[in-house]
Symmetry: C2
Subunit: 270 residues, 2 copies
Amino acid sequence: MDQRAIGVFDSGMGGLTALRELRRLLSGEDLVYFGDTGRVPYGGRGRETILRYARQDVAFLRSFDLKAVVVACGTVSANALAELTAENPLPLFGVVAPAARAAAEATRNGRIGLIGTAASIRSGAYEREIGAIAPAAEVFAKACPLFVPLVENGRFRVGDRVVELVAEEYLSSLREAGVDTLVLGCTHYPLLAEVVAKTMGPEVALIDTGAACAAAAAGTLAERGLLADRVRGGSRYFVSDSTEDFARLASVFLGGGVDGDVERVEIEKY
Amino acid sequence: MDQRAIGVFDSGMGGLTALRELRRLLSGEDLVYFGDTGRVPYGGRGRETILRYARQDVAFLRSFDLKAVVVACGTVSANALAELTAENPLPLFGVVAPAARAAAEATRNGRIGLIGTAASIRSGAYEREIGAIAPAAEVFAKACPLFVPLVENGRFRVGDRVVELVAEEYLSSLREAGVDTLVLGCTHYPLLAEVVAKTMGPEVALIDTGAACAAAAAGTLAERGLLADRVRGGSRYFVSDSTEDFARLASVFLGGGVDGDVERVEIEKY
C-alpha cells in the first residue's frame, strides 16, 4: 500500500485522456496533473528541446511526494523515456510500450498503422517496440503535425471540414495500405477518434495510447502492492499558461468538469 | 551615426519577414535576430505568458549592445509593447502603429479588415491605433488561430487545399463586409499573402505589418541620425529550438539563404 499521489504530465491537454482513464481505473488515487500549456506543442520541436522540457516537467511533478509518474505524452515517451527513467528513482510509465502491446494484440492481418507527431514518428520508438513484440507485423507510420494544433484549438469534431480534410490527407495512405489497427500515438488523438474512424472505416481498431498507458500503470502498481487504500482520491491540476483557458478546454478532454484546483506554475524554473 | 546593431525578435519565423525588409532598406546595419522557436506559437497563450516570454526575448537581445529593438511579432506588439518600452531604455519599434497608419492611408471606403492571432485580436490594440488615426474608419477583426501553426509547418502555398479552406473560413466574413484593406496583423502572414489575395479578391490592399514596421524603424533611426556608416552589415540568428530546423524553413521567409550563423540559446535563462 502506498498513499502517495501519482503524477501525470503532457505537453498540454492531451494527457487528460490518460488521466481520465486513470481516474476510472483507480478511483482511490490522488492524481497530480501538469500540462505544459505555455510551451505546447512539443511534437514539432527538436529532441534536445523535448528532453529539456520533459526534465523540467518531471522535476516539477517531483516537488510532490509521488510514487509514480505517468508520461502521458507520446512525443516525450517516444523521445525521452530512457533518459527520464535513468535519472529518476521512481517508476515512470510511458505510452509507447503499452500501445505497442495493445496494437500487436489487436491486429489480425499484421498490418498496423501508426500516427503521431513529427518527433514521435521520427524517433522510431513505436516501430522498435512493435517489432520486439510482433516481429512479423508491418508498421505503416505517418506524422500528423497539424493534429495537435487543431485539437488544442478545439477543432476535432466530425463535420469540421478542416479537420476532416486534414485527416483525409494524413490517413488515406494508411487506409490504402490496408491496416486493420491504428495506433493513435499521441494522447491528443482520442479526441479525433470519431473523425479518424470516419476516415479509416469502422473495421479498423483504434488504439488509445493514453488509455493503454493508464491501464498498464494501474496493473503494475496493483501487482507491486502500491495502490492507495482510499475510497476516493483527489485531483490537482497545474499548467504553465492561463488557468482559465485550461479549465475551459479541459472539460472536453476529461468528459466532464475539472474536479480539482487549477494552478499556474513557472515551469522554466524547474 | 551609431554603429551598434539592431535587434529583431519574434515568436518564431514570422519576424524574418520584417528582417528581410530591414535588410533591404538598411543594408549597412548589423542585425541580430531571435526567434523563440522552442515556444512558438505565442498567439494562443495568455497575456501574462506572452509578457514573460517577451521580457526574456528582449533581455536576451540586450545581451548585445543594441541601438534599437524591432518587436517583429504582432502578438507581442499588441499585448506587451507598453511594458517593454517602459522597462527598456532604448527605442522599441512594434508592428501595430505602423500597420495602422498604413491601413488608414490605404483605405478608400473606410472599411478595414484585420486578421491576427487570438491574443492580438483580443487585445484591441490595432482598433485603438486605427481609431486614433482615422476615427471614421470601421474595423472588422477576425482571429485566425490556425494560420501560425500552418505557416510554421510550411503550409502556406496557393493550391494547398487545407490552407485555402482555412483561409475561406476565416476571411469570408471580411470579404462580405466589403473591406478594401486588410491588415495582416501577424508577421507570419505575408507568406500567406497569395492565398489571402486569392480569397479576398485582387482589389483588396494587403498591409504587411513586418514591412510597415521595418520602414517605420528605418525612418525613425534615419531621422535621429542613428544609422550605421557601413556599406554592408552582417546578420546573426539565434533560436531556442533546433538550428537545423530553423535554417531549413528560414530561407522561405527570407526569400533566400540564411546569410549568417545560426546559434541556439536557452531563452528561459534570461
